[in-house]
């Protein structure tokens, strides 16, 4: 296609000779005599999408000189190669033109051959730039496609993973889920997990003489933590069948957690065996927050301190066993560390106030007269209110009553 050149020149002789030279070379030429007219032509051609290929302009012109014209073009966001016809002694203007990114200069006086050579240079430079831009653009498109493909594959694996995880969560919750009724002892509990996986674990199994109960808290909230929990559950099930003592059970469990766990996790746990034939209870603790015993006859609450190591990290561990006789209507209350650690922050002072085990003790004292279900719900609601309904850890509260 023929290239279209705009000449802005107020000297008519110069304008005519330039257009002769250029038309001779096969260019389409439009001429104007002022900067203003040039700018209007450029604007309208830009909007009609019939842009000039080149502007040749003089510096000295009425109504918008060459410099102002170039500035106006660039301010309008129009890209157009420019050759400026310069006279003698325009050094300052020259510097300014270079700064503006002018593409070429044509010093007066010039021969036709100079004009043609300059134009060829500018067009060549433009073509090179255009080719570079096109290549850059093509590369970007390619990169874009590659990235989109990569994202697609990430998306795909993410959805697959999410699905897998959801299934794991469902299975996990099915595994550790506990019925509220149907045991030899009445129970009540409330568990609120911070995350989908891991968290506090409680289980109860009827035995020949009564029931066995376990509470466990595995550190962490990830899939690995939930594997530990499942392992604890299966050991507990097995122990309910074999009826080994709590101490032996914890020794075996500790060994198993250490043996199988490359991923070391701290586990705290409490084990309670209720013998309803003899109204006898024995308890073992693996560094779990101490349980609370309610003696119905004296109407008193006691914290039962049982010494023991946590599970899953040390090879040499020991567990004390506490045994005592109980009476109907006596209660045992267990909880995870999330309860005494539950806190609120005073807005003004910024001070953190924890519930603490004595806070829990007081709450239980005030509600112990209620039936076990109501007692638990009432205490739980007060704890929630205390934390201003903000949960920061797993929380579990569990109570049982001797029938």
């Amino acid at each position: 296609m023929q290239k279209h050149i705009l000449i802005a020149e107020d000297d008519l002789a110069m304008q005519t000779s330039l257009s002769f030279i250029l038309e001779d070379e096969g260019f389409v030429v439009t001429t104007v005599s002022t900067g203003k007219a040039a700018f209007e032509k450029i604007q309208s051609s830009f909007h009609n999408d019939q842009m000039f290929d080149l502007l040749i302009t003089d510096i000295q012109m009425p109504e918008l000189n060459g410099l102002q014209l170039i500035k106006s073009i660039s301010q309008a966001g129009i890209i157009l190669p420019v050759i400026v016809i310069t006279g003698y002694g325009d050094k300052q203007t020259l510097i300014e033109l270079i700064r503006l990114g002018c593409d070429g200069f044509l010093p007066k006086p010039f021969e036709p051959v100079d004009v043609c050579q300059k134009i060829q240079e500018v067009f060549q430079k433009c073509d090179e730039l255009k080719a570079q831009e096109e290549k850059k653009f093509a590369d970007l498109i390619k990169q874009n496609i590659d990235l989109a493909r990569e994202i697609d594959s990430y998306k795909h694996s993410f959805y697959a993973l999410r699905k897998e995880l959801n299934n794991a969560i469902i299975t996990y919750n099915d595994l550790i889920c506990l019925n509220k009724n149907g045991y030899k002892v009445p129970i009540a509990y409330h568990i609120q997990a911070l995350k989908d996986l891991g968290g506090d674990f409680v289980d109860i199994r009827d035995t020949e003489k009564g029931c066995d109960i376990i509470i466990a808290d595995v550190a962490g909230h990830d899939m690995a933590a939930s594997y530990h929990t499942v392992m604890i559950k299966s050991f507990f099930d097995e122990n309910c069948r074999t009826q080994k003592t709590g101490e032996t059970f914890f020794q075996l469990l500790n060994h198993a957690l250490l043996e199988n766990g490359k991923n070391e996790r701290m586990v705290t746990s409490l084990f309670l065996r209720v013998d309803l034939d003899n109204y006898h209870v024995s308890a073992v603790s693996a560094a779990h927050p101490q349980m609370i015993y309610y003696n119905d006859k004296d109407q008193t609450l006691h914290q039962v301190n049982i010494a023991g190591n946590f599970l899953g990290l040390l090879t040499d561990v020991f567990f004390e066993t506490k045994s005592f006789f109980v009476h109907p209507k006596d209660r045992f209350i267990f909880y995870s560390d999330g309860i005494p650690n539950a806190y609120q922050i005073n807005g003004v002072s910024g001070k953190k106030i924890s519930l603490t085990s004595s806070g829990l003790f007081d709450l239980l004292k005030k509600n112990i007269h209620l039936p076990i279900d109501n007692m638990l719900t009432s205490v739980w609601e007060k704890i929630e209110k205390f934390t201003r309904y903000k949960q920061t850890d797993d929380m579990m509260l569990f109570a049982l009553e001797i029938p």
Partner: protein, 242 residues
């Protein structure tokens, strides 16, 4: 309309009830918070966004000429008091249920619930058209390590919880790699250690004892709760509490 007033550690905005003001104010607050080198301003921004939205939409019912005022006051290091007031009729703030819904699609309707969960404490004026929120900017614990004579002193800048587990793990592994054998943990700034944090102390001592025979661990400046924790878990047999 937007007027801003700023003085020392206090900044106040008053603006017309237009939704477009929300982002404008958020932008202003962000640049204001930069003065306090708050690395993670997530809490504060989230709370403000909810409160300003509520004030414009529910409080002033998007009536342009009603004014919303927002002020932020720095209480102490990284803690702010935020007050947002509108010219509406207020609402029954006693009836709010702050329990987080398990259903994620409900979150949009539960803006105040979200605010509550990110704030330390919230209060309303009697009418219910002015809310005061106290909030602490998020901060992660840094572990400062220094060799004093032949003892490596590790000082955490805050609590040691599961969120800080990775940097803590990195620090202790690094110390062991360098062949250090005497360790002192300065727990001056630690109020709380959770079970993951505690596990790291155990894992660390196990690793160190496997590697060197003449290993020594000390805990200094621990508060009573943490001392109890070490005693309850019998970690005090491994870590000497001074």
């Amino acid at each position: 309309m937007l007027t801003t007033f700023q003085e020392d550690d206090y900044i106040e905005f008053k603006f017309s009830s237009e939704i477009k003001m929300v982002n404008k104010i958020i932008k202003e607050v962000r640049s204001y918070l930069e003065n306090y080198e708050i690395e993670e301003d997530g809490n504060i921004i989230l709370i403000l966004r909810e409160l300003i939205n509520n004030a414009i939409e529910h409080g002033n019912k998007k009536e342009k000429d009603r004014v919303v005022s927002v002020c932020l006051l720095l209480l102490d290091d990284k803690r702010f008091k935020i007050v947002v007031a509108d010219e509406g009729d207020g609402f029954d703030y006693n009836s709010i249920n702050y329990r987080m819904s398990d259903d994620p699609t409900q979150i949009r309707k539960r803006g105040l619930c979200l605010v509550n969960s990110f704030a330390d404490e919230i209060e309303f004026n009697q009418t219910g058209n002015r809310i005061t929120v106290y909030v602490t900017a998020n901060e992660t614990t840094q572990f400062h390590v220094e060799d004093i004579n032949d003892v490596t002193v590790v000082q955490p800048s805050g609590d040691i919880t599961s969120e800080d587990a990775d940097p803590f793990r990195y620090v202790i592994h690094d110390c062991l790699e360098k062949g250090k054998t005497k360790f002192r943990f300065d727990l001056t700034h630690v109020n709380d250690i959770d079970s993951i944090g505690l596990s790291l102390f155990v894992i660390f001592s196990n690793l160190a004892q496997k590697k060197f025979s003449n290993i020594g661990f000390e805990i200094i400046n621990a508060n009573q709760d943490i001392i109890n924790l070490f005693q309850m878990t019998r970690l005090n047999r491994i870590y000497t509490i001074i």
